[in-house]
């Protein structure tokens, strides 16, 4: 299945989480309030470090979000 991450088309497997996709691409999920890059930490929905934007909504926890065909993911948006 295909999704878009920051405008780029990416081939992903059904069942993957958006957090895993983003990590595999070597991207940080978000910028912290002082500008540090941050990525997923807990993998279970409690740390909120994996927050990013999906289909224009956010910031949402990507580790709790399975990939969906055609979804538009935007990382690094403060």
């Amino acid at each position: 299945m295909k999704i878009r991450v920051n405008g780029q088309e990416v081939e992903v497997q059904a069942g993957m989480s958006v957090a895993a996709v983003v990590m595999n691409l070597g991207l940080a999920a978000r910028r912290s309030v002082t500008g540090e890059p941050r990525g997923p930490v807990c993998g279970m929905g409690v740390c909120f470090e994996c927050r990013l934007w999906v289909d224009g909504e956010g910031p949402l926890r990507s580790c709790q979000m399975p990939v969906r065909e055609g979804m538009e993911v935007v990382t690094d948006a403060v």
Binding site: V33, R51, G58, P59, L60, V78
Partner: protein
């Protein structure tokens, strides 16, 4: 100084400047009462001449302060939103009133309203912009106002003339005792015309630039100044963090400080009616606090009944963050026996008798 909210802190600071040595007696963390619960909108309001005078004077005092960064002072202005022509028409009188008294204000037609705030729902008639209003972060403001002043963590059980008794039996005396315990004032001063009026707020994650002004529906005036047991109004504030702070609700007769879904729901629905983009924003926390409401919506500032050394500064309802500085100035003038810039009688404790 009993009570370490923003009012107690501002008064203590002012009296220290007059040469008093103050001790703030606070049962909890400084600024943890209504001060921690409030919105921090520094706003001029015109329910009465006295309210206008006090809020306006206080806003000038805030403007004159050199505040540290953590107080998050932002002069974002207030944009009162008129939903229909009737509201816009009614606001013309308000414009004249503000201008006559030297407070800058502007009427916006629909086009200019949407230039100012793109996120508002289509179909609004216009707005009333007060560019000089601001937003601060009240808990840090209270901590800053109270900086360097001696503190004592204790609960006052009894308030006398020039003395207080603490839980545990200790008694403190002062040339001046000030009761600034906000919504809890009637506990220490039985018969005082102060009732708790509950309010809910909700805060979102960070959405920098989503709105630029404190946005309030003109109907808010009815909610704030009316006496219905329960009301909500659209009132959304941009925080420096990029968060949106969503208000507001007013309830009488509720003692429990917990969050109540039914009123929160009404409040949020109202907010989404005006600002549809809110629907997609993440709410991260909701809470409730108590305003200290008086029958005429004005604070109580002056000597307590039958006292010569015990003073009151309470009853600031939904405006204590704004009016704490004007309150402190008035109180200090009264204590020092000087003439006052504001008409002291308007805020005098005895006025309800």
């Amino acid at each position: 100084m009993v009570g370490g909210g923003i009012v107690g802190a501002a008064c203590a600071r002012q009296l220290e400047r007059e040469g008093f040595h103050c001790v703030i007696v606070e049962r909890d963390v400084m600024g943890s009462g209504a001060t921690a619960a409030g919105m921090g909108h520094v706003v001029v309001m015109d329910d009465s001449e006295a309210q206008f005078a006090l809020t306006r004077r206080s806003r000038d005092l805030w403007d004159a302060m050199e505040l540290p960064d953590e107080v998050e002072f932002e002069r974002c202005g207030t944009l009162w939103v008129a939903a229909d022509e009737e509201e816009l028409e009614a606001v013309r009188g308000k414009l004249a009133y503000y201008r006559e008294r030297g407070v800058e204000a502007e009427l916006l037609d629909a086009r200019r309203l949407y230039e100012a705030e793109r996120g508002l729902r289509a179909g609004m008639a216009g707005g009333f912009l007060v560019p000089g209003d601001s937003v601060i972060y009240a808990p840090c403001a209270a901590a800053w106002l109270g900086r360097g002043i001696e503190r004592k963590k204790a609960e006052v059980l009894t308030l006398g003339d020039g003395w207080v008794e603490l839980r545990g039996g200790e008694r403190l005396e002062g040339d001046i005792v000030l009761c600034a315990t906000g919504a809890w004032a009637a506990k220490l001063t039985p018969g005082l015309e102060v009732k708790p009026r509950k309010g809910h707020l909700a805060i979102t994650d960070r959405y920098p630039g989503a709105i630029r002004h404190q946005l309030i529906e003109l109907g808010y005036l009815k909610s704030a100044h009316g006496d219905s047991t329960e009301s909500v109004a659209f009132n959304v504030q941009p925080r420096r963090t990029g968060q949106l702070l969503i208000g507001s609700s007013r309830q009488y007769g509720v003692e429990d400080g917990g969050v109540e879904r039914h009123i929160l729901e009404r409040m949020l629905r109202r907010a989404v009616e005006y600002l549809p983009g809110l629907a997609a924003m993440q709410l991260i926390r909701v809470w409730a606090g108590f305003r200290a409401a008086t029958p005429d919506k004005l604070p109580i500032i002056g000597l307590a009944r039958n006292c010569s050394r015990t003073w009151l500064a309470t009853g600031h309802e939904g405006l204590g963050i704004t009016t704490c500085l004007g309150t402190a100035e008035l109180l200090a003038d009264l204590v020092m026996g000087r003439g006052t810039a504001l008409r002291a009688a308007d805020y005098a404790p005895g006025r309800f008798a």
